[in-house]
């Protein structure tokens, strides 16, 4: 399922990665994954999903060999790959899929993929390697959703152990795992992707949250690749002849979500005023050092199929913002903005720039620098207004149902809009492309105008790797590090 090789792949060597986004609370429970380190390790190496988005962007099977749907996109039948075994020797089958899916809806479980899985009303085992899933409402993107990094396949009946030890069906099995410190993986002896992927003998993923240390590790040759290159120093890094920059334009965007349930963000005028008081170009120039594009408070990016390119741009207009504040019945506005560089590289700077540009609109933003560790558990979804990033999703529906659908756990603005909700459901089951386009455009319009999140910029994925590494030439743009599949798709030249 990997893109066609351009150069001959070679087997061998241990790939050492320096990855940001690790925590001591990390575990092999894919339901809880939200940061790059564990996504890389679990989704990218140890575990497999039913489907996979290839480097060139099309959907291919991973543990599922093929799938088909009824015309209303309600009933999906998956044919599973045969001869697949888990790292502990257990062979893979339909039971594993069912139990792995049930994990997300178990009593008390908190999974980001819960909305996806809970749309399944019935699971039927048609055979050892065949499975039928019936959805509540039709969803044309359902196979796409099955490639979500939360929905990894665990061995049935051994999930507890698999979560503790990291037992999946992936190319690499866990040799050592020290949460927040280091993960050591080794190539399984034989695998269904043999000959197509998995060229390294082993992988060492080192947690390096400090960006300075990470860049240094790459430059001094202590790791072969790093994620999240510090934009500030990207131009300097480029000067190093031993290192290449891996820049892809994806849907990653940096956001400032406000909890729309709380005053003053419950007032749409206030939200609009804030949207007009940020100087987006300046942010792209200074925070991203030009590695990205101006955002329009819309999570659907140019890489998406139904991107609405003709949406009116929310631009920097202090006068308009002032006016909006007045319309909201306020004299001026004073708000706290929580930020930490854990949200995204340069988040504090972005917040400070926001603060400076908002001053022109008579808005007094108080930037609260939050501690980096635990930012996601203590600040995001907690503080009324904070900095955040989204990797973006391959499909519109996926993106929306992750963070904009009413009541989903990651709806980080708590925004609820009846029309939006209605459109979301209709478009989901709509198989007519033109109609879908209209529906998605309207939704993007709604979010951009009324939504609770300020999206000032789209950031390219900028990773860096040593010139010793080679790749097929086609780089996935769903996540950083070749859609987090560098370990599968790359090799030592």
């Amino acid at each position: 399922a990997t893109g066609m090789p351009v150069r001959a792949q070679q087997k061998g060597g241990t790939l050492r990665l320096g990855i940001a986004g690790a925590n001591t609370s990390d575990s092999w429970d894919a339901r809880t994954h939200s940061d790059s380190y564990m996504i890389m390790a679990a989704h990218g190496a140890v575990f497999d999903c039913l489907t996979e988005i290839s480097a060139s962007g099309e959907l291919v099977g991973e543990l599922a060999e093929s799938w088909e749907a009824t015309p209303d996109a309600k009933v999906w039948t998956f044919k599973l790959r045969t001869g697949v075994v888990f790292h502990n020797g257990k062979s893979f089958g339909a039971d594993d899929v069912m139990e792995s899916l049930n994990m997300h809806t178990a009593e008390g479980a908190k999974s980001a993929a819960k909305p996806i899985v809970s749309s399944i009303v019935e699971m039927k085992k048609l055979g050892e390697h065949e499975l039928q899933l019936t959805l509540k409402d039709g969803n044309a993107d359902f196979p796409f959703l099955m490639s979500d990094y939360h929905i990894c396949m665990y061995p049935a009946g051994q999930i507890e152990e698999a979560v503790a030890k990291g037992i999946g069906t992936g190319l690499y099995k866990v040799e050592a795992f020290d949460p927040g410190v280091r993960t050591l993986l080794s190539r399984v002896d034989s695998h269904y992707k043999d000959g197509k992927a998995g060229w390294f003998d082993g992988v060492e993923i080192i947690a390096i949250n400090d960006s300075s240390a990470r860049m240094n590790a790459l430059m001094t040759g202590q790791v072969d690749a790093v994620n999240r290159v510090d934009f500030k120093t990207e131009s300097l890094l480029k000067a190093n002849p031993m290192v290449s920059i891996l820049e892809v334009t994806g849907n990653q965007h940096f956001t400032f979500p406000m909890l729309t349930g709380l005053s003053p963000f419950d007032n749409v005028k206030v939200r609009q005023a804030l949207k007009h008081s940020v100087n987006r170009q300046e942010m792209v120039d200074k925070v991203l050092q030009g590695h990205g594009a101006v955002g329009n408070d819309n999570p659907i990016g140019p890489a998406n199929q139904y991107f609405a390119s003709d949406l009116p741009q929310n631009d920097y207009d202090p006068e308009k913002a002032k006016h909006l504040i007045k319309e909201a019945g306020l004299d001026g506005l004073q708000v706290d903005l929580s930020a930490s560089n854990a949200a995204f590289g340069g988040a504090v700077d972005a917040a400070l720039l926001y603060q400076a540009s908002a001053k022109g609109a008579g808005i007094d933003i108080n930037v609260v620098q939050e501690p980096a560790d635990g930012y996601w558990s203590n600040v995001w979804l907690k503080k009324a207004w904070c900095a955040c990033y989204w990797s973006g999703r391959a499909t519109e529906d996926w993106m929306f149902s992750s963070a904009y659908e009413t009541g989903v756990p990651w709806n980080d603005t708590g925004w609820e809009n009846a029309r939006f909700q209605e459109l979301l459901l209709t478009a989901r089951a709509e198989l007519d492309s033109a109609k879908r386009k209209d529906q998605y455009t309207e939704m993007q319009m709604l979010i951009s105008k009324e939504g609770g999140t300020v999206i000032p910029m789209y950031a390219n994925y900028v990773d860096a790797h040593s010139n010793k590494l080679a790749n097929s030439g086609t780089i996935g743009n769903v996540f950083q590090m070749d859609s987090s599949r560098m370990m599968e798709r790359w090799w030592f030249a």
Binding site: R31, E107, A207, I208, T220, P409, G414
Partner: protein, 349 residues
């Protein structure tokens, strides 16, 4: 009569007296240390429990239903009265059971099966602590002999250019923020001259030489941080004694200056030197968070900071307790060594 025989006579005379007084002092200090540790545990427990928010909320985030929060709280015992929790924790700690980490307990319990695979705090801390001890050990092995030798030389050649230069250099190094020193060392020893790795990602089962190599740069940074203190104390303690009559006596016996210092001044300056060494060792074990961050060294300081952020109370408490115990133990050791190095206490009248 040989010395041994004479020794025998002397020791035979008052063996109990010697043992008694030293043992009594040690027992006293030990009891005091335990008391301190006990109060520290209360202070820490109180501080940790005052931390805003709790683990359940920290982990569940906004999507948490009250039931889920309650479930986690019950599961972790967070719903019980703090005093009761403290007693349980203390009881466990006394039996060597520091509880199990919240973070590692994680959500595994919601798979539907009974867990039993929770990592205990002890398991989690042990490797980190071992790493920290290793770093402290390497640093101490470099810094202590280095500092003491420098101190002796500086005392011997006091007021010479050598003394002044050493003084200025060590003062400057102690005055610089740790991260500054770390970056400067990285700059010169890893970036401009790629001699040492700037990344100290050590792990279990690493060859000792690799481990040493990776630890060298943080150890050097810490050496710069702690050397000045020890060196200056050695120098000052020795120079303080140089005016004493017995040093003058030694000089007037025609003993050469080096021997005067090593043989006559140093043994009497041991107590302050031991104390400052202990203080610095305690610092090495407990105060190296910044260095760990810069070099990505997986020590206990990092773990502590991480755990505070996610409100992983058992880990935080255990870390604090270990820090306090290390501090108290080192002070105790210093006390005892000072006593043992002092003939007045070793051989009472």
């Amino acid at each position: 009569m040989g010395e041994a025989a004479a020794n025998l006579i002397l020791h035979e005379k008052k063996p109990t007296g010697i043992l008694d007084s030293v043992l009594k002092i040690i027992a006293q200090r030990l009891a005091l240390g335990l008391l301190t540790l006990f109060i520290v545990s209360i202070v820490i427990f109180a501080a940790v429990n005052l931390l805003p928010g709790d683990f359940a909320q920290a982990i569940l985030g906004q999507g948490a239903t009250p039931e889920a929060v309650e479930a986690i709280r019950t599961d972790l015992g967070l719903d019980q009265h703090p005093v009761k929790r403290y007693m349980q924790w203390l009881g466990g700690a006394l039996q060597g059971d520091l509880g199990s980490s919240f973070a590692q307990a994680n959500f595994a319990s919601f798979v539907g099966e009974d867990s039993g695979v929770r990592t205990s705090v002890a398991q989690q801390i042990a490797p980190r602590f071992a790493n920290t001890m290793f770093l402290a050990g390497v640093t101490a092995a470099i810094a202590v002999p280095f500092a003491v030798t420098l101190g002796i030389l500086a005392a011997l050649y006091r007021n010479s250019i050598f003394d002044r230069a050493t003084n200025i250099l060590t003062l400057s190094s102690i005055s610089s923020p740790e991260f500054f020193l770390a970056y400067v060392l990285i700059l010169f020893l890893a970036v401009l001259n790629p001699w040492l790795p700037s990344l100290s990602n050590i792990y279990d089962g690493m060859a000792f030489s690799d481990r040493l190599e990776k630890t060298l740069l943080p150890a050097l940074t810490l050496t710069l941080v702690v050397t000045a203190h020890m060196m200056r104390m050695t120098r000052a303690a020795i120079i303080n004694l140089l005016a004493s009559p017995y040093i003058e006596m030694a000089r007037l016996k025609g003993i050469n200056p080096m021997r005067v210092i090593v043989k006559h001044a140093l043994p009497n300056a041991l107590a302050p030197i031991i104390n400052v060494v202990a203080l610095n060792l305690a610092y090495l074990i407990t105060g190296v968070v910044v260095v760990e961050v810069v070099f990505v060294y997986p020590g206990i300081g990092q773990l502590f900071v991480d755990s505070v952020k996610i409100r992983d109370i058992p880990v935080v408490q255990a870390c604090c307790l270990i820090f306090a115990a290390a501090y108290i133990l080192l002070n105790l050791t210093a006390d005892i060594l000072s006593i043992v190095s002092n003939p007045r206490l070793r051989h009472p009248k």
